[in-house]
Homo-oligomer: 292 residues x 2
DNA sequence: GGAGGCCGATACCGCGCAGGTATGGGTGCA
DNA sequence: TGCACCCATACCTGCGCGGTATCGGCCTCC
């Protein structure tokens, strides 16, 4: 008896997990099979086998397709985490192998945000004697945490409460209030402060729509938010208004007014990294960040 | 183009990961094969295939066996996390299926510690109107976090800095100083306080040895710590001394003296649970804990 | 009410690959 | 130098994954 007598048997292969997630996301075996580049029958069988092995019905079959059961919901949520973990393991292994030649670290941040912080951080870190190359990857809002989870990035600049930092080690960098940015001449632009509800219901100034994680946009009146400077231009034109962390003030030009939003959640900018990271680059960046 | 065009291909199957971990832990293909219940050649081939697919040498072959390379270390660390995640996904799926009949929640804690807290917590939770059954699993020191990671438990009572809480959501319950517990008549028993170094080097009072995670014990002079009351008996007999959180005072009987240890790390008792848990039982326990 | 369309499930088949046995090649040690 | 102990290679076999063809249930729409 060494150290491995207990064995509740990990029987699920990653291939099966991928199949399951695909079917769950499509709610449709045929479409899922197409997405996976395979035929429908083997996929049906694989799902059935998985259900048999887990001893749980993962889907209820309806004439319209497959709908998740309770256990299915659980497996979808946990299975995505597990798949991301495997993906991360692969990627980090490959990167460790590659970095044998030249160490480097991948930092991800939201495009066009926190540029102040980023510049200071990168400068501070670059000044360290044993600094490695930092590859900065700007990605669409909300994708930073995902990239950290699946190993595409080693460190990330995240913003609570918008980003989900659970499962990461974090250091807080800045805490900010949020402000409403609106056209200079607007009636509300002279107010001392405003509530979020008021800001959201300003006549003729619908807030822009932020994209979902998959790149689609919710329905609504406001413009689709793609590029921050473009949207600021729209604000100047009196077409929309914007709620942003107050550090955004630094980048504003004329034609815009700023009003503090009293009840908006405070935004905390954090630097986040996967627990147990052994990268010297990550450690150095975090150290540099904590000295900012 | 829906939401799944990028695909850096998750190619590693859990079977391969299990194989790799086994070989890495044994540093020996033959022994690993035995442990896995298979022959040596297929295992050799599987490892080679994995290395080829990852494009990285995971081991260097020596006449004495297999030793991990840098990328191998990475894959071992990350792979263990990934395997635990898959195991957790399976177990929680099975449990969700089972709990369709009667909801329950598994709470794990260190045997014989925090009993005060535990009792209060369970009482407080049981008093709630929609409380579900709580299955309490006492496990050896250090195993609580593992059980939480691989899904054997839904909530855990952990102790920082001893337990690794990274990756979990936590609520702090108590912060305590630590005290030295020694025989009543001992010369040091009348001191106002003591340092950890002094406590560790008391003549004729070697501190007990705590088991590793695999159940083995480090070499050294002190007794092997198995059962707390047994060790306390040894303390009474003047054979050992013990550093414990001060809440342990409540359980002490005669024949023992207590001296505060000045520079020992403060112990924080926390309740921890996996992020994104959807269990109503977990939510209830956490709520109850925060009201203690 | 029956025909057709759209589901997923089943039947059947072939091939690839995981896993087995036997053996080779390299290294350290008596 | 021979042996013991590693891991790798060669070769074979059987299982299971994935393919095509088809079935059975349900809804829709003439």
């Amino acid at each position: 008896m060494g150290a491995g007598q207990r064995r509740t048997l990990v029987v699920v292969e990653t291939r099966e997990l991928r199949y399951f997630v695909a079917v769950a996301e499509e709610s449709h075996v045929g479409r899922a099979a197409e997405r996976l580049g395979m035929a429908q029958p083997p996929l049906s069988r694989a799902i059935a086998a998985l259900e048999r092995r887990l001893g749980a019905a993962l889907f209820t079959r309806t004439p319209q397709g497959m709908v998740l059961t309770g256990p299915g919901e659980t497996l979808l949520r946990e299975g995505r985490v597990a798949l991301a973990a495997i993906e991360a393991a692969e990627r980090r292994t490959r990167r460790t192998a590659a970095s044998a030649t030249r160490a480097s670290v991948v930092l991800t941040a939201k495009a066009g945000a926190s540029s102040e912080i980023m510049a200071k951080l990168l400068d501070a870190y670059a000044a360290e004697p044993d600094a490695v190359d930092v590859e900065v990857v700007l990605s669409p809002p909300g994708h930073q945490a995902l990239m950290l989870r699946d190993g595409r990035a080693d460190v990330a600049i995240l913003h609570r409460p918008f980003d989900d930092t659970s499962g990461f080690d974090v250091d807080e960098l800045v805490v900010e209030d949020q402000v409403l940015i609106l056209p200079a001449g607007h009636p509300a632009s002279t107010r001392e402060s405003i509530t979020f509800d008021e800001a959201r219901t300003l006549p003729d100034l619908p807030l822009p729509r932020w994209p979902h994680l998959d790149g689609t946009y919710p329905d609504g009146p406001g413009p689709e938010l793609r590029d921050l400077t473009q949207v600021l231009q729209l604000v100047r034109l009196g077409r929309t208004a914007l709620v942003l962390p107050e550090s955004a003030r630094a980048n504003l030009r004329d034609g815009l007014a700023v009003v503090p939003v009293l009840d908006a959640p405070r935004v905390t900018t954090v630097i986040a990294w996967p627990p147990h990271s052994t990268s010297v680059g990550v450690a150095g960046l975090v150290r540099a960040a904590s000295r900012l």
